[in-house]
Amino acid sequence: MIEVHLWSSLRSLTGGQQVVEVEAATTGELLKELVRLHPGLQAPIDAGVSVAVDGRIIATGLSEPIPEDAEVYLMQRLRGG
């Protein structure tokens, strides 16, 4: 199981949980599982998210591997200039 840390304003969409657990081997699976377990997260994921895996920010890729016991944070999609 991977612990996914959410940013705190998402708690209202997960029944108050800021850390949720999912089974996933890639970033794409992770997002799919998040929505399956917490349908409320569909909206932020549609609006754009990035996934930080062990500190590296995966901006868009859905096929990035997530190692066992990786530290995973869901982040808002980054926008640059």
């Binding site: 840390h5 062990d54 920010i57 982040m75 808002q76 640059g80």
Partner: protein
């Protein structure tokens, strides 16, 4: 990628050769956006709203259409129907609404109609004959006022899922993050400082106005030439707004006369294409400077509250920030980015940050170098300076004590990989600037800054020629010398001279998709792709050598531009130079090219520390920046001169933002300073030389260790200058720009 795979000894990378496009750019030969002509070309012009907020009752263009010189008039009806969605999900709708007003005009300068005529003068004359009936509506341009209960509603239903119930409809996105217990942290502090800050909107201020030349037939096939940071996003967006297939529109990026984030979207390009489709002739559209200020660009304005607790020894116990950003009449103000970046330089146990995206009757904000980060840094680093002053702490030592490093938990959540903040602070402390004595009336300011950087979709193609030279096709417009960096990286892998490599910015029909030149991604992502494309070509070169020698390919390696036998059973052959392999490549298996298409995901965050000395005239409130030093982590500087250039440019833009640049709106909601005379960007005599220190802490996510350098340089200046001015004037400056009237008023109130 493990650090062990990372190259650290270089032949070409790190040298400072002349840029490949230098000659064209010093002779006037380089072709920028407005330098294109086409047979049968018409000239376009756009009619813009004089009202900040108004319902369009009627547009009557019959008098303009009746003119002999006028060949087409378009309004919103000439664009595709694009579905509306809240927040940023409806970005195509937002862009369309911005490109050409629908039911309402939403800001002074909003486009309402456009004309194509046989000359630019005829087009402008025709605009005067278009009659628009407006019903003027109440407007709001200030971020705090736009959130008040009685503020005019810009657009119902624009808020996305993130906005808690009960907020004004002008609040369209909301972000909250952090960790720990800030209240407990404040209770542990010896001193808590709480303050509020305001920054005005600024413009990217690129010297080249938006310009394009579009041609679109009724068959849905088109060509577009434009000045842009990303021609694939222009292609995709124009196609969506005009209802044509993306691949049927071929977009060529001109040389680009500055962007800084402001040319990452479209403004006039879909209009030129719509005019062209209607007139059945190519149409050139060029903005004037006033249009650039009124209808493109600017940054968000911001209103921010910061509270930070500190122990006497300088340890930060808790930090809290609320960042309200106004981004014009559309969702997109990067309040979330401001919140996530503001405290990122520090290793904090207790931190909480809230960001708001607020709409007002102003032009749609566009990205500007590290969008959102500079304002937040201004507020946070000002409070840190105040804490240092009150606790008698050295500002660099305090920052070193709290600095984030590898393994620290970032304020936005994850644990940092290898980062270089501490190295920039140590370089600051060791720099002669930091210990140089100040003259009376001068003050010194320090600030750190953080930016994420970005990877993004990237395609690069590299083709070898028979004579042993190489052409590299990249899809990221060259804003500041990136052709040189690409050529250096390709030379490093191929082992042929820098001069033998030609780098071209390919059009959308000649290469796969590329994300925009933004997010400091070009040297990182196009660079990574160039390296990998070159390696791909090298693999093929080794295969050809192996075949010639009749040995297995794994017994061939590439060294100094030659295939050489490698390993015990490889045999004894003379090194085979690249040109010897390409000379007969047609007969040995065909042309040799290398490709790379991917979305690199290891951009690596970046930090900087700036030192500024400023002098304030106590009688007039006028500030002179007397000395400036930029210290920033580049990971690995490919072409150090252009890295320095990015640092210096960021600092100069920051100086403008801090001291004199601002959007000034009248009571009537009209922009009052839409020319360079009154929108005061720094001129040559305003600035000192800008010293730079390139720190190199390799990014583990790039084969050569590159981190983006384009954006971080604008994050620290606002705060560093504000701290210098506040220390010189003896009064805390809480509002940008620190124009002389504001400083003089603050001195009087001291």
């Amino acid at each position: 990628m493990a650090l062990d795979d990372q190259k650290s000894i270089f032949t070409f990378v790190g040298t400072r050769p002349d840029r490949p496009d230098g000659l064209d750019k010093v002779t006037g030969r380089a072709r920028f956006g407005a330098d294109a002509h086409a047979p049968g070309m018409l000239h376009g012009a756009i009619l813009r709203s004089p009202h900040a907020h108004a319902r369009i009752v009627k547009i009557d263009a019959s008098k303009a259409e009746a003119l002999k010189d006028v060949k087409a008039v378009v309004t919103r009806a000439d664009f595709a129907e694009v579905p509306f969605e809240p927040g940023l999900e409806g970005e195509f709708w937002n862009v369309l609404e911005n490109v050409m007003a629908g039911e309402k005009t939403l800001y002074d300068g909003h486009a309402v109609a456009a004309v194509a005529a046989t000359s630019a003068l005829a087009a402008r004359d025709a605009l005067k004959l278009i009659e628009v009936e407006y019903e003027v509506l109440p407007h709001v341009t200030d971020v705090d006022k736009a959130m008040e209960a009685d503020a005019p509603v810009i657009r119902e239903g624009a808020a996305d899922y993130s906005v808690p119930e009960g907020m004004h409809p002008n609040v369209v996105r909301y972000h909250e993050s952090g960790h720990g217990d800030v209240e407990a942290g404040f209770a542990e502090a010896d001193l808590v400082v709480e303050d509020s800050f305001v920054t005005e909107a600024t413009h990217q201020g690129y010297i080249e106005p938006h310009a394009c030349l579009g041609s679109l037939g009724t068959d849905g096939k088109g060509e577009l030439w434009c000045t842009t940071q990303g021609h694939w996003i222009a292609q995709k967006t124009c196609a969506a707004l005009l209802g044509i297939e993306t691949s049927q529109l071929r977009v060529t990026a001109s040389e680009i006369g500055g962007g800084f984030g402001g040319k990452t979207t479209v403004f006039i390009e879909p209009v030129a294409l719509a005019l062209s489709r209607k007139a059945n002739r190519p149409v050139k559209l060029v903005m004037n400077r006033s249009e650039v200020f009124r209808a493109t660009g600017p940054t968000s304005s911001a209103s921010m509250d910061i509270k930070i607790g500190m122990k006497k020894d300088g340890t930060i116990t808790a930090a809290e920030g609320t960042f309200r950003l106004q981004g014009g009449a559309f969702p997109g103000a990067p309040g979330d980015m401001t919140a996530m970046c503001a405290f990122a330089p520090y290793n904090l146990t207790n931190v909480r940050q809230v960001g708001y995206d607020v709409m007002a009757n102003r032009p749609k904000q566009a990205a500007y170098r590290a969008p959102g980060a500079p304002m937040g840094a201004f507020a946070v680093e000002s409070v840190l300076d105040e804490l240092c002053n009150q606790l008698g702490l050295d500002p660099v030592d305090m920052r070193l004590k709290n600095a984030a490093a590898e393994g620290s938990k970032a304020s936005y959540g994850p644990t940092y990989e290898r980062i270089g903040l501490v190295e920039t602070l140590e370089a600051a402390k060791a720099h002669p600037h930091y210990s140089a004595p100040l003259k009376p009336g001068q003050g010194r300011g320090i600030s750190c800054g953080f930016w994420f950087n970005h990877g993004g979709e990237t395609s690069v193609s590299l083709a070898l020629s028979e004579d042993g030279s190489a052409q590299v096709m990249v899809g990221t417009p060259d804003i500041g010398g990136s052709r040189a960096s690409m050529a250096l990286m390709a030379a490093e892998i191929l082992g042929i001279p820098y001069e033998n490599i030609r780098v071209t910015i390919a059009d959308t029909a000649s290469l796969g998709y590329n994300d925009v030149s933004h997010g400091s991604r070009v040297t990182y992502a196009s660079g990574l792709a160039t390296i990998k494309a070159a390696k791909h070509a090298v693999e093929k070169l080794c295969e050809r050598a192996a075949a010639k020698w009749g040995i297995p390919v794994d017994a061939v390696k590439w060294e100094n531009g030659c295939a050489v036998p490698s390993g015990p059973n490889a045999g004894d052959f003379d090194p085979l130079p690249l040109a010897d392999i390409t000379a007969d490549m047609g007969a040995t298996g065909g042309p040799i090219s290398g490709h790379f298409e991917a979305t690199p995901e290891g951009a690596g965050v970046s930090f900087g520390t700036h030192i500024v000395d400023a002098e304030v005239d106590p009688e007039t409130g006028k500030t002179s920046v007397t000395r400036y030093t930029v210290i920033q982590d580049a990971g690995k500087a490919i072409h150090p001169t252009y890295v320095e250039g990015q640092y210096q440019g960021g600092a100069a833009q920051g100086i403008g933002w801090a001291l004199n640049e601002e959007y000034i709106y009248g009571e009537d909601g009209r922009l009052q300073n839409s020319i360079f005379l009154d929108y005061r960007i720094p001129v040559a005599s305003d600035l000192p030389m800008i010293d730079t220190v390139i720190v190199e802490v390799p990014n583990p996510g790039h084969p050569f260790g590159v981190r983006g350098v384009g954006e971080t340089g604008i994050v620290p200046p606002l705060a560093a200058i504000a701290n210098a001015v506040s220390n010189a004037a003896g009064v805390r400056m809480r509002q940008l720009p620190m124009s002389p009237p504001r400083i003089l008023a603050a001195l009087k109130d001291k």
